[in-house]
Symmetry: C2
Subunit: 355 residues, 2 copies
């Protein structure tokens, strides 16, 4: 049984994270992680007719680039798993049309990348796939006009606001028996995780996503530790998706109330991506935030052994403009995966490249 | 390796379909399948303040009812997998909040129920879950105003239009070692399927979903037959989700062009649910169409042995109002699962009820 406790699991087959890619805009490039991203565009329309089309192209390009690094094409994928924030996940759906790979579309808001990684690992463990692309994207301008206000209105940010990351991130998973001969990363494996449960503390302020999502993150962290009998000190990094500064404070406080202290090992992609830039207020957000930061900033460090064991949980706020207008509070979810520095050198010799 | 050919798979563990439930409105009750549905509501708001809230309650109720038939509660679920058509899948997300089970949110438009079944089976095969609820919903009134026009405008249907089903369907999967002692269905198992690939033939008419989705259905059927070296006659039913009358014609023609004739074994949930009612024009549609028809009309017949082997593929059109306004055509996808009449009596004796 690969299941642990109430909602956690482990991967006996240890799916390998063999390549990744990210595609962001100028704003992210000028942040502290700017040098880590693969592609940065000056014009966030990419010369296309809409931000939505541009976001879809970013999603597609991140997947193509992660494959390109292996000398692979998208047709060789056993499966593409992903999603985004736009209504009917059009960024991912239209990208999947171009990529021509079997496609599993998800909606989990900003928790998409960890939902995708988790499912990708499960498909591998069950023998359903040997090469899977997991990807997620978001775009400041397409999201602002969908969830908030037309950009032309020039509305001011509230003190708890976060800036949606314009970007896409893709991670390629390979089963350890796929025998990829020239992986970008040789020493990163997914060893388990926890399926998120929807949590709602009654927050109704759609400009304070951090507060809405922190309880979901706390719930998943607590459950993961309980299910696996682990302690925060078992990880050298517990990485949340996009809680931002306010949400991070709330997470630490919620966990402290449960007697769990993760302060020494906690980081948040939303805090990392824009650093102290006051214009982003509480930091970055969006499905592309955790995806691009993990793909390009964290994963290489796991591969290099800088991090030995990472609990990565992206957090998603499951609201819609309609649900907010109808007076609903904001439910949230956080799916978690464990990514470890784990050598695969011994397996390379006696396997051969697929096909 | 559980994988077959390019994108098909088989389940060695044969996950059991042990219970199901459906919740529809008066319109569906007066159709030819009316007697099969578990709950039919006269007032499609269920007395709640919005159609969106009602749809979420239908989703939740379908899951609760399928569990109730087993004497189970939602907290006992290892996982809830599902989605719907509303922006940010709020029907499912809010239902998941109430159901308090680990939740995997999907977006695959009207192909959601087969995507959920497929993933549920994969989780089981990998040992990640022993009891999974797969569910999907749609609501005529919430969908009309989101995708088309406010109902108050009283716009007339086009000759290729379909009526969105107001309803939700849930199927409960159990691993064969879960030892459910009192399953509603004892003789229905999922044995395989095919992951859909996005297909787009350039259809831009958002009032003709059947035409947009037929190529995806044809693609998945063809691939399934190729990957598994099967023939249409190996099935006594090939059941599409909601192609409706026009889409069905197109599917048969597309497959005929490939030398595949499924006419003798083909049915479509969208055609079945409203019969010849001229007001529904080409039939039913919506994520709740295939979900409720399969859960309440088809699955009991598989259990009873009326159908021995069913290829069930729900089809989804991956457009959004925004993508249509931006001049995009309509990509579509169809995920398929194989459901077979398969006894489990021999397994019941030596297993015990979970927990």
């Amino acid at each position: 049984m690969a299941r642990l406790g109430k909602s956690s699991f482990e991967f006996a087959s240890k799916p390998q994270l063999i390549s990744s890619a990210s595609f962001v805009s100028e704003k992210e490039r000028t942040g502290p992680l700017g040098g880590d991203f693969d592609v940065c565009c000056k014009d966030d329309t990419l010369g296309l007719k809409s931000w939505e089309k541009a976001e879809s192209r970013m999603f597609e390009s991140a997947v193509r680039l992660a494959l390109f690094k292996l000398g692979r094409r998208s047709e060789e994928l056993d499966c593409l798993i992903g999603g985004d924030l736009l209504d009917q996940i059009i960024s991912s759906g239209f990208a999947a049309r171009e990529l021509r790979a079997p496609f599993i579309g998800l909606y989990s808001a900003c928790s998409t990348i960890t939902e995708a990684l988790m499912l990708g690992g499960m498909l591998m463990e069950g023998g359903f796939a040997r090469l899977v692309a997991c990807a997620a994207s978001s775009h400041f301008s397409s999201v602002e006009r969908q969830y908030r206000f037309p950009l032309e209105m020039g509305t001011q940010s509230t003190p708890t606001a976060q800036r949606t990351v314009t970007g896409a991130g893709c991670v390629l998973l390979a089963s350890s028996d796929a025998g990829e001969r020239t992986p970008v990363f040789e020493n990163a494996a997914m060893t388990g995780g926890t399926i998120g449960t929807v949590v709602d503390y009654g927050v109704t302020d759609a400009s304070n996503m951090g507060a809405a999502m922190a309880p979901a993150a706390a719930h998943t962290i607590k459950r993961h530790l309980e299910d696996t009998a682990r302690d925060p000190s078992d990880f050298d990094l517990i990485l949340t998706g996009d809680l931002g500064r306010f949400g991070t404070e709330m997470l630490l406080e919620l966990l402290a109330g449960e007697g769990i202290n993760i302060e020494a090992v906690h980081e948040d992609c939303g805090k990392l991506i824009f650093g102290d830039d006051p214009k982003t207020v509480c930091g970055g957000s969006g499905a592309g935030c955790a995806a691009s930061v993990f793909a390009s900033h964290i994963l290489p460090k796991v591969d290099a052994g800088e991090y030995k064991k990472v609990l990565f949980l992206a957090t998603g706020a499951l609201l819609s403009p309609v649900s907010s207008l109808q007076g609903e509070s904001i439910p949230a979810i956080a799916h978690a995966v464990v990514v470890e520095h784990a050598g695969r050198t011994e397996r390379i010799g006696n396997t051969k490249r697929k096909e």
